[in-house]
């Protein structure tokens, strides 16, 4: 919008601040329809009272901030079980963080609201806006300017350069996305027959014996299992262990935390009638059966063991696997039997794995019937 008055520098310098504000408003088509001072400015007493309240709230916010920093850094936050000394103190850690943080933000917000309501003027301003498209002159001239720029820079004529340029900029964007997302894409078949969908931590490496170790949640606690360690109707979670891993905390932790490693070793009563699935006749050792804990439906831990009926139940979708039928699914959405680990006992009386699971562990996938890749 162009100014209707042509004001020179000295004229502008002579104008007061209020006149300049009015000039700016009129240039922008803004008109102040009504204006009155804020509520707090009514009389000196009210002004003082409101000013003090705002000050008090700001000081309170600062004190809450200080209290938050103090609680965050100095309040005892380590877990203390009920009954132990210091349990009550510990209980207050999280609530105190919340209370002090809330106080800090709430006092600051209240101070802002109070200040604005008290001291900002109550003003109604109206701005005239044009409705509909810009005037024809503006539209035609703008379009001509754009076309002229295309002509002068030559992008209008040089189509090859223009297209390549656009493509190059697009690819630049894609490269940025690739760097961000590329790391998330993996080829599951990279390891060919050793790819993680076919193998687990039980796969023998270099002929080294793979023992069954009790998972205790503590990787330094190495307990290999012998048949006499488990009573009839017992079940224990075991993970693979190799003597070369003794002392290697990373590998021991990996063996416990790798999702397809956990196996439940079950001991059935001695006179249990078991109909093993074809191909699974000799995977067990006496009354001891080792099954993957991972449900073949969607990979939840199928670990609710009913020792009376010898059934493993998956809590996610109620799939049931009959141990007396070689891990066959007898109820629920699971379609494949639980993979069974071939086990035996070595010369020293410890359970060892006789190889990896013959079947893939966990949920099914497209290539599962091929058996290898």
């Amino acid at each position: 919008m162009s100014s209707e008055k042509d004001l020179t520098g000295p004229e502008l310098q002579r104008m007061s601040r209020k006149e300049l504000v009015e000039l700016g408003n009129s240039l922008d088509g803004v008109r102040v329809a009504a204006e009155e001072p804020g509520r707090g400015a009514a009389d000196a007493r009210s002004e003082r009272r409101r000013r003090r309240l705002v000050t008090l709230l700001l000081v309170a916010s600062l004190m809450f901030a200080g209290a938050f920093i103090w609680v965050y850094n100095l309040w005892p936050s380590a877990y203390v079980p009920p009954g132990a000394p210091g349990h009550t103190t510990y209980l207050f850690y999280t609530p105190l963080l919340g209370i002090t943080f809330f106080g800090m933000v709430a006092a600051l917000a209240a101070a802002m609201v109070l200040y604005v309501k008290s001291f900002y003027p109550n003003e109604v301003a109206v701005q005239e806006l044009e409705i509909g498209p810009s005037p024809e002159t503006e539209r035609f001239t703008a379009a001509a300017t754009f076309a002229e720029a295309g002509e002068q820079t030559g992008f209008g004529r040089r189509t090859m350069v223009r297209r390549l340029g656009i493509t190059a900029f697009g690819i630049l964007g894609l490269v940025g996305g690739m760097v961000g997302l590329g790391g998330l894409v993996r080829n599951p078949w990279e390891g060919r027959d050793d790819s993680p969908l076919w193998t687990t931590g039980w796969k023998p490496i270099g002929g080294e014996t793979v023992y069954l170790r009790i998972a205790t949640g503590d990787p330094t606690d190495i307990r290999r299992v012998r048949p006499e360690d488990i009573d009839q109707d017992g079940v224990v979670t075991v993970v693979p262990f190799r003597e070369s891993e003794r002392g290697d905390i990373e590998k021991l932790r990996d063996a416990e935390s790798s999702p397809d490693n956990p196996v439940q070793l079950l001991r059935l009563p001695p006179d249990t009638q078991v109909r093993n699935l074809p191909g699974r006749e000799d995977l067990h050792h006496g009354d001891f059966y080792a099954f993957s804990k991972i449900c073949t439906h969607l990979g939840c831990p199928a670990t609710l063991y009913d020792s009376q009926q010898q059934i493993l139940l998956c809590p996610c979708h109620q799939s049931e696997f009959a141990i007396t039928e070689g891990g066959r699914p007898i109820f629920g959405p699971a379609a494949r039997p639980l993979p069974q680990l071939p086990i035996t006992v070595d010369a020293d009386g410890y359970f060892v794995a006789r190889g990896d699971f013959p079947d893939p562990v966990g949920p099914s996938f497209w290539e599962i019937r091929r058996g290898s890749h």
């Binding site: 205790t216 488990i230 009573d231 109707d233 017992g234 079950l266």
Partner: protein, 263 residues
């Protein structure tokens, strides 16, 4: 005297006679004091022959369709089943679920404890099996609650929920809540594997580890694990999500409406 009144008196007299004969003929429940050895076993046999023999047989061999053999279950199983009121069984529908224990086997009374020990000694003397620990009460509560929590999540949480609030099994059965279980009952349950529960031998979970698990259960049950004031049943994230959604979002909507009405 009318005929009707005469009949009523006759029935009353017959009932009184029957009740008196019952009181005279049925022996009072056996009580046991601090006995040991053969005397305690004899005491236990007497209790067994009153309360258990009709389903479990005269030689603990069990009876078809009535009760399983008790040979080899050990006094740990006896203590768990009888002190939690699961046995002796009054109605077959109650099988496997906690009830108020029979008065003569109430573990909160001296006599009940003595009777439990005697019955256990008898079962133990016949078939052997896992035994009730020598320690009791606070001695069965371990010191490492955190490790107990690890072991609980590894071995127990699948069925009993991560804070012992019970769960589900197939065919309408459910693993119990651990709200009322005493340390002795938890310990003997792990040792004996009652009903569908697997057995956790002392080599698999050492006595110290069992005590840590007990300490964990005691630390999280009741309202012990509710720093927010109420534990919402500790059924899992769904309850907490629903409450957060209804209460939290509801409060935000109300605040937004209030702000809108004020400005």
């Amino acid at each position: 005297m009318t005929r009707r009144v005469r009949h009523a008196l006759l029935v009353l007299a017959a009932l009184v006679a029957l009740g008196g004969a019952y009181t005279l003929l049925v022996p009072a429940p056996q009580t046991a004091s601090a006995q040991s050895g053969q005397a305690q076993i004899d005491q236990g046999r007497a209790l067994y022959e009153q309360a258990c023999i009709s389903c479990h047989g005269s030689n603990l061999q069990g009876a078809p369709d009535r009760g399983p053999s008790l040979v080899g279950v050990g006094d740990a199983a006896v203590y768990f089943q009888v002190s939690t009121g699961r046995m002796p069984l009054a109605r077959s529908e109650d099988r496997g679920y906690r009830r108020v224990p029979a008065p003569e086997f109430d573990p909160d009374t001296d006599q009940g404890r003595a009777n439990l020990a005697a019955l256990g000694a008898y079962i133990q003397s016949v078939g052997g099996g896992p035994q009730v620990p020598a320690e009791t009460g606070p001695q069965l509560i371990g010191s490492d609650v955190g490790h107990g929590g690890d072991l609980f999540r590894l071995n127990c949480a699948y069925c009993h929920n991560f804070t012992g609030r019970g769960g589900i099994l197939g065919a309408g059965r459910y693993p119990p809540r651990l709200e009322a279980a005493t340390p002795e009952q938890m310990y003997t349950a792990m040792l004996s594997g009652p009903m569908a529960m697997p057995v956790f031998s002392d080599k698999q979970l050492t006595p110290e580890e069992k005590k840590d698990i007990i300490a964990y259960v005691l630390a999280v049950r009741g309202q012990n694990n509710a720093p927010g004031g109420y534990d919402l049943g500790e059924l899992g994230p769904s309850t907490e999500g629903v409450i957060a959604f209804l209460v939290g979002l509801g409060a935000l909507v109300l605040v937004a409406a209030w702000i809108g009405a004020r400005s």
